[in-house]
């Protein structure tokens, strides 16, 4: 499997990105603060409002480096895509399946099974590792309700029924997730998932991690020639990368939720890294975001064995491998989409 390269996160809002030969240069107030050869990069995520030169954008697209712009608060603004990869058979198949309710539903069930099983794994680990300090009964009860829903996935006859199961599982999961927060419980708690805006620190932390994950999944889909905007479970909505959201589902517990928990429990982040705005919404401070980005980058370097391929890969390559498996399934190499099950 290929080597995972670095993602450059540019967090200084006044940063302007430009090209110098084969290098990416970050300029702040007319001064070049940082430079790195483009060949060392997997992607660039820029939390700024100054933008980048067209030449730099082209350098990125030519070298398959994903380039995304987010607002300083982490809201998605834009992605730069190069020429569409001409894999017309793959895209045509993707659209055909997206138009077929039955075929789409079968793939959506795979996403959902991946997500629900991984949610269970997160809860199960909490009980296993910290059974002496947490309310195990509460977690086990939520878990049993989740299993009940998981068993019903195959019986869903339409996407709405599946969405119902998703909603139920999310409710039980987030109510139990609170138990797995072991430290700093005054600052970090969660009873439900809220996002527009996030109303507490834990939701703000999850939102930020999901943003990072979304960038990686969307880049991965584009790099294998799939259209991130046409999904099988999330319906088409202009401006919504539905397939990226679909494929993120099974990765949220594994890549984002676990990291959020461990950052809080290891005190790598604290209540001081969050601000409550007048509207009740919570945002992360720049220092807080830097902490998260550091932990995220580090997490991506970890090695795991892919459950379907049985190959050793970096955690950061999971989105790419899943995108590739989706492409290979659509091209007829395998009999279904194998979701990522964490162990």
């Amino acid at each position: 499997m290929r080597k995972l390269l670095n993602t450059l996160y540019v967090t200084t809002p006044e940063s302007y990105l430009l090209k110098d030969g084969e290098n990416v240069v970050v300029r702040v107030d007319g001064e070049d603060r940082f430079r790195i050869p483009v060949h060392n990069l997997e992607g660039i995520v820029c939390f700024g409002y100054m933008g980048a030169s067209p030449q730099l954008m082209r350098l990125c697209t030519d070298n398959n480096v994903g380039l995304s712009f987010l607002s300083p608060s982490g809201r998605f603004q834009a992605r730069v895509s190069g020429k569409v990869k001409g894999n017309v058979h793959l895209r045509r198949t993707q659209y055909r399946i997206a138009d077929d309710i039955g075929d789409s539903l079968n793939i959506a069930k795979c996403f959902m099974k991946g997500k629900v099983v991984n949610c269970r794994t997160v809860l199960g680990r909490g009980v296993r590792d910290h059974g002496d300090v947490i309310d195990c009964d509460k977690v086990r009860y939520a878990d049993s309700l989740i299993i009940g829903n998981l068993l019903k996935v195959d019986d869903c006859i339409n996407p709405d029924a599946l969405r119902g199961i998703e909603g139920n599982c999310a409710k039980f999961y987030f109510s139990a997730l609170d138990e797995l927060i072991l430290k700093q419980k005054d600052d970090f708690f969660i009873s439900e998932r809220n996002r527009r805006p996030p109303l507490d620190n834990m939701n703000a932390l999850l939102s930020f991690l999901y943003t990072l994950l979304a960038h990686d999944v969307e880049s991965a889909l584009e790099s294998v020639g799939l259209d991130p905007y046409v999904g099988f479970f999330h319906t088409d909505r202009p401006g919504r990368a539905s397939l990226a959201l679909d494929m993120m589902e099974e990765l949220r517990p594994f890549l984002a939720d676990r990291l959020a928990l461990s950052m809080v429990n290891l005190r790598q982040i604290s209540g001081n890294d969050f601000l409550k705005k007048e509207n009740g919404g919570v945002i992360m401070t720049d220092d807080g975001k830097k902490e998260v980005l550091g932990a995220w980058q580090k997490r991506k370097q970890d090695k795991i064995v892919h459950p379907y391929l049985k190959e050793k890969i970096s955690v950061g390559l999971v989105p790419y491998v899943q995108a590739m498996l989706m492409a290979r399934f659509l091209r007829g190499d395998i009999d279904g989409y194998p979701p990522f099950f964490m162990n």
Partner: protein
Amino acid sequence: MTGKSYADDELLSLSGIQHFYFCKRQWALIHVERQWEDNLRTTEGHFLHERVDDPFFFESRGDVFISRAFPLVSHSLGLFGIADVVEYIRTKDGISVPGYEGLWTMRPVEYKRGKPKTDERDEVQLCAQAMCLEEMFGVRIESADFYYHEIRRRVHLNLDDSLWSLVSSLADEMHEIFDKGVTPPAEKSKKCSACSLENVCMPKITIKKTSVAGYVKRHVDDACKGD
């Protein structure tokens, strides 16, 4: 020749025949699925720069002259491409060339970065080039040359009937697969480790054929069993 004649927009890239000979799946990933064409082009680009430094290509004597980047097409093979070099050699029974006195035979010369391969992937490409020239100019071409950069010398190739029919059948099969729009499964071989498309190809999944349905069921069943 099979008597087939392909229209202009049915022509496939001649350089693909070496990929096809090496591995049909690799060829389909590049030419049917258009994976990593950029990477392919960039490597070819760097390669062209190297050529300029090569003294061989400026060689020209009184009874030999060369034409570089020579466009090729064969409607019966359904292939089009470019020859690195076509050499014109003065002979008694060749063809006349505008602007040059006398009669000339043609010989394609293909430049290769590496050294001679153990299989015939280079040979089928060069033979296909010669077959294009034969069709374009109504001539017979008996031989062609490689120039292998790594060993810094020419290697001569006789274009015999067996190579000629191998190229014909490969070209037929390329068109058949291209028209179906399918990507053949990988074949079990040692070649995969030498292939730059290994990540895109995921050869194991088509060779091992691990059932996805079984994989999903196993994980869901394990989850439902509880801890």
